[in-house]
Subunit: 430 residues, 3 copies
């Protein structure tokens, strides 16, 4: 049974107005328009597919949102035990007055209609933010995003750099970089640096508060000397995707290092999301193809962390087994910060054990508790609320119960990791 | 303290009649004849040896069951804290009216006699099954087992394939294969495939419901092309155990791939038990020599899982650190199923943490909760009961407590993973 | 909430007089002289530095203890959530009558003075031992320590061998070995063996009860043949630190193997502390530079454990992910013993989960519960008390609650792992 302090701690931390430090929200369409935007989230499509629903039923071109929801609802029963399913039911209860505990063939149509009515409101996005007690969310912007047409105080730009580091041998990425930067890649490293630097100027001028990247488990960032990097760039510009893989690897490292240098120059934290292998299940549904090899170590980042003492690295790890290394590296390196509970580790048991370890060993100023990773605003609330429930348990049991803290002290710690550190680590420039 | 719903959930799931999906029961002698069959289980001999009992005292040729028990009882004290010891005491209490909490020099002889009396009954095996609420158990049959002389509805055949994959360079294995299949290995891959296919015909005709194998951590199944596989087969047939190891490896992979193809053709699930290194402690007691390297990843099975979308792969992992990968792969791949808590992970803490993670993230239809791995029927009950106690805790605390489920919902989930999925994933053909 | 048996179990195990089987206490100055000796412990300096305090403020040459404490106190706030901070506050409460829950700018000076007054007593060390209910502590002695001038019954010598194994290519280490052993290294392996054997004679004559070493994750002990070892020794003697690294590696393995042989001859347990990479953060504070790669396996020690069945190997692992392997190897190998909760795994969550697994699967005679690793006597108590609180929880919840044991049985188990096994595994010769 839960500790007597648990409930009041939960209430206190649930009243904290949030800034969500990592999402995939589209600022031009931040909330859902139909239930299909919720049920189409990859968690539901991949779990339904994993339970036996053919991919073609999910991804059939041209099907209506109503039909997609109908099909998925017929395949939800195997998922009812998952925490992802719980997010969905909680959204429906909170935002659409849904009363049941299961979404099934008997009730989905009225739910669909109720949701559609709510979502039709011009104020729907703002209403979701307000009901969720959320002040702002960080975005995940392509490097060539023009960042216009939305309020960057609510929808905070973040420069996502996967394409620059891992796909610069692709012609379209080279062209996107030249077009967005206005710099033509003439084969010199200087031109590449100039081009990327333009992106930093553009992003920081538009309120960006972070640079971010996701990284495969085999990646090892090291400094590449100018000659080697220059050769790699030239080979890649000449041969495109036909280039030898050693050049791709060398260029990946060189670009990654440039990004770290520019984060240093521009004072941008560099979010590292470590551990994903893309496309492991090639026949999987959209966004449901990636897995990992948990045999990754932060020792691979040793040179990086030493070389850039003034860059803050909020680090997310995909597998819980890497959490202890993350804790230890954050405990020793001033520039390593623990960041959220990512993807396959974003389920209650893993959150509980990973968060507890962080809270008892990493300085309280160096922990970013959580981010939603949401694609639609409606998901920010149930995900954060799952986290808050677990955090309240840890604060009550470990800090009040085991350590003898007062409730006030425990709530202070909760505030710091949930909100205070987000502001301190990713300061606004405005 | 435990959740108030815990006890009624436990009672409900304890009343479920079980099918045990993996054991090493000998269908011709399924239950024990003396206490030596219980105390001779490798868990007790290896733990007693690890605590200081010389191997020669345990494995002295020709000692009587009574003498073996006497010797082991004198060496049980160091084991009293282990969960394995608890299984033993619970068996003695349940089946033989034992009243004490320790088996020691003061009470073992009367226990021995009481056990012998019970075991002498002609109905003893059936009585153990009935008292244990067990309907049937899966076996582990050598590929050349004739599968006759027992009721295959109660003792369900399972084709174990370790010898075929890892020992086909041994003459005796080649001969056993030729003899049991009636096919002579003439050096062509076709003859090898025919021979193995005969085994599948024989096993499925006799009610087999699974194919199974245990795999070392370094094994990486990949398709081997016909030419390479053919060379390997010829080399192995010519040189036997003197063959170069590269041929052994190539042939292992080729045979493994054939087995997956045949599982596909015959609709048999392929149980993968991943992670064991055999003979690490060469001077250990019988069956107490195997350990592991926990640095294994399911990414090694990427090609296999993609190549056989219609084969169900119930996967067991030896080390708890691999459990998160198992959960993630089962969450994404339709053909990956979580299977039990194996060997070094079959202790309460690991079961608790591994089962909790599965229950909150893997579709409920894709989880096989538990198998006993027992060599004698008496062990099915205490092992399953250890699991059920933990499952009841998770269902009460996480699903009823944290998620707000009803007890009925929680019990339904328990039924599905304990019994329903075994029938759905390993369907009977009769 | 905690189990009703928890409190009485805690009280019983808190009354056990301890022998601490691994510390870095200086027997000539075992306790602190000022608060700076406590706050100067690397846990506080590294965490304060990690939270932003510049290294130069901490390590400025010539600053007074008072000034160092003043500076550190101004940087403690970010650490208040850590278990390390709790040790500090508990020391101040227990030994110096400190009443607050935080050490801050308002109260540190009076605390400093109170501590200084207590520490000025000639009986301070003995008083700390008595108040902490500690009978004796193991030391960590350099191989050339003369071991004189202290009571070896209270301060038990332990031969630390890192320098011999990993630094014998350094001239100063060669000279220290020749000087302390009285044997000159003439290039023959025999001279090296003679020299090291002299150290064993010296240490065992002075009451040493263990040999110990910390090992990097990549180290794999294997026997090196005489010719290869002899070449390596000669190369190292000729070239010193300029020698090729292959010779250093070969000599490391050869010396390690000699140490195991001598442990066998002299009946000394060989403590292995596996997993640390030294100097990962080169700009870190003193003793705050080491981290690790958690991808290590005990399979690397397979040859060693098989070759020396009569040497006891108490094994500590740096990362919790290795704990399951440690448990499994201790369950199978008679000569492998689980030892404490080391460094980055010495925080409450990791202790809880690692200790629970050991207690339910490793014979109770093969577990050394805990050591403090302390540099000053004052830290023995809060560290052991953290452990005892966790142990009491496990004994109450798992053994009394889940297993149905009596409190007496649970307390017996606690006694064995906390005290009994230390005496049985590291017997005194006097
Ligand atoms: Zn994301
Ligand atoms: Zn088995
Ligand atoms: Zn130490």
């Amino acid at each position: 049974m839960s500790h007597p302090a648990r409930e009041s701690i939960y209430q206190a931390i649930a009243s904290i107005r949030l800034i969500d430090p990592h999402t995939h929200i589209n600022p031009h369409a931040p909330a859902s328009r139909t239930l299909a935007d919720l049920l189409g989230y990859h968690y539901y499509t991949e779990l339904a597919h994993s339970s036996g629903m053919p991919k073609r039923e999910i991804e059939e071109p041209g099907i209506s949102p109503h039909e997609l929801v109908r099909r998925l609802v017929h395949n939800l029963a195997p998922l009812e035990n998952t925490s992802q399913y719980r997010w969905l039911v909680e959204i429906c209860k909170k935002f659409f007055g849904f009363q049941a505990d299961r979404i099934d063939t008997s009730n989905w149509e009225s739910l669909y209609d109720a949701a559609e009515r709510s979502m039709a409101s011009a104020q729907w996005s703002q209403s979701v933010l307000d009901q969720s007690n959320v002040e702002a969310v960080f975005l995940t912007n392509d490097f060539d995003d023009d960042l216009s047409g939305f309020d960057t105080n609510t929808y905070i730009p973040c420069l996502r750099t996967d394409d620059l580091v891992f796909k610069l041998h692709q012609r379209d990425v080279q062209e996107r970089l030249q077009r967005s930067s206005g710099v033509s890649l003439n084969g010199s490293l200087g031109s590449l640096r100039d081009a990327i630097r333009q992106l930093f100027l553009h992003f920081t001028a538009n309120g960006a508060r972070a640079c971010a990247i996701s990284l495969p488990p085999w990646f090892e960032p090291t400094m590449v000397n100018e000659g080697r990097a220059s050769n790699a760039l030239n080979a890649v510009l000449r041969h495109g995707e036909a280039v030898e893989s050693s050049h791709v690897t060398a260029l990946s490292r060189a670009v990654f290092w440039m990004l770290a240098e520019l984060c240093d120059e521009f004072g941008l934290p560099f979010d590292l999301m470590i551990g994903v292998n893309r496309g492991v299940y090639a026949e999987g549904v959209f966004q449901g193809q990636d897995l990992y090899d948990s045999r990754v170590s932060l020792i691979q980042y040793r040179e990086l962390f030493n070389a850039f003492p003034d860059v803050k690295f909020p680090v997310s790890v995909l597998a819980s087994v890497t959490n202890q290394e993350l804790v230890s590296y954050a405990w020793i390196f001033p520039n390593v910060i623990t960041n959220g509970h990512w993807w396959y580790s974003n389920t209650p048991s893993f959150i509980h054990r990973d968060a507890a370890v962080r809270l008892e060993a990493v300085p309280q100023t160096k922990q970013i508790a959580y981010y939603s990773d949401a694609y639609k605003l409606e998901f920010v609330w149930p995900k954060f609320d799952m986290y808050r429930n677990i955090l309240a348990n840890i604060l009550a049991e470990h800090f009040v119960g085991f350590n003898g803290w007062s409730e006030e002290q425990a709530i202070e710690l909760g505030y710091k990791v949930l909100r205070g550190n987000v502001e301190a680590i990713f300061p606004s420039r405005t």
